[in-house]
Symmetry: C2
Subunit: 188 residues, 2 copies
DNA sequence: TTCAACAGAAACAGATCTGTTTCCTTATGT
DNA sequence: ACATAAGGAAACAGATCTGTTTCTGTTGAA
């Protein structure tokens, strides 16, 4: 039974490189060099590059949502405040030098087959993040928590892409302002 | 002096394949086979694959914005109606079987270098589309046309990504509903 | 008809990619 | 101390990629 540390380190390195350079553009050798792991060892843990991609996406899914939820919880005590904190947390994220957009959005751009595991994992990620927003929307007393969550999630997607493509540092605050309108409309 | 038709056909074919499969995953040979053009001829018009990518993005920039603006103009007579028509036009776009998200968003996901031509062209596209929305916002009598345009453009980005990644057919109408709120807030 | 330019087909070069295998070193447990 | 397993380094195979070149046919104009 192999120790998990090597496998995890490989996944962490892969996440970083896939985020920055994309999936097809990131060769196995580059990941291995960055991780300081031999090719032989990698192929013990992952039977192919595809499997490493899936593992990286699944790992990031958990880690990102966990960090995101924790940051939101820490940013505010009130339900309504937490809904808005989503965009404050996003703003910090966008300001990171290592911000290259959403790993899942970028992944779907490279893998267009409808039933591809990449798309399934990405869709699942967005679904799970939405569940969390739905729960916050319920706590905030929204008339239709699902609808409000749809709106806030769409705003977040828009902010991510605007920050990434248009290189707009105001993206998070633009989204936040609209979030105020959406929340008022939904809770009123 | 070469006839432009071959060059244009090559660009059109490249756009289709880059949209569906991405940039790194689309090899030259695949484009050439689909276009029915020889490699030799291609390298007369484009000195490298990179140049073909730039040409495809620049061509799509013009064609897409032109079609988009025409569709918006045709959908409504009033300024406010045109602002909302953005999302009706988007809905039709998302419903297309050949919808694979925004070519520029996908491109930026694959080319992360800050000063890359791909990023420059993509940023320029978003900027030009925003100029159009600003002009519509001015016509609609927005207090701050720039701010409203920022908001509506962010909603459009969010709708595109939500339709693409979450495979959500409601994406356009969710964005449209928020657009109503934003317009009311801005014109009030 | 003849000549020149064009363009397709295909071979080719060189690089890079994924994935396998071999060889050797280094730990670790008995 | 010795046997065994793990893992690095690197060669290797086979595929694929970009870009060049060569050869051949075809077309259009003088």
């Amino acid at each position: 039974m192999p120790r998990p540390s090597r496998r995890d380190h490989l996944i962490e390195t892969a996440i970083t490189l896939f985020c920055e350079h994309g999936y097809h553009a990131t060769g196995i050798d580059r990941i291995l060099a960055a991780a300081g792991v031999s090719k032989k060892t990698m192929y013990v843990y992952f039977r192919s590059k595809e499997e490493l991609i899936y593992a990286a996406l699944r790992q990031y899914d958990g880690v990102f949502r966990n960090n995101f939820m924790k940051a939101v919880e820490a940013a505010s005590d009130t339900p309504k405040g937490k809904l808005l904190a989503i965009f404050d947390v996003a703003e910090v994220w966008f300001g990171d030098n290592q911000f290259f957009g959403c790993m899942f959005i970028n992944a779907v751009g490279e893998y267009s087959e409808k039933d591809s595991p990449v798309r399934e994992i990405s869709k699942q990620f967005k679904k799970l993040l939405r569940y969390y927003v739905v729960s916050l929307a319920k706590e905030a007393g929204a008339d239709d928590a699902d609808e409000l969550a749809d709106e806030l999630c769409l705003l977040l997607e828009g902010a991510i892409v605007t920050a990434q493509v248009s290189d707009d540092t105001k993206a998070a605050s633009i989204a936040r302002k609209m979030a105020v309108l959406a929340i008022e409309d939904a809770v009123g």
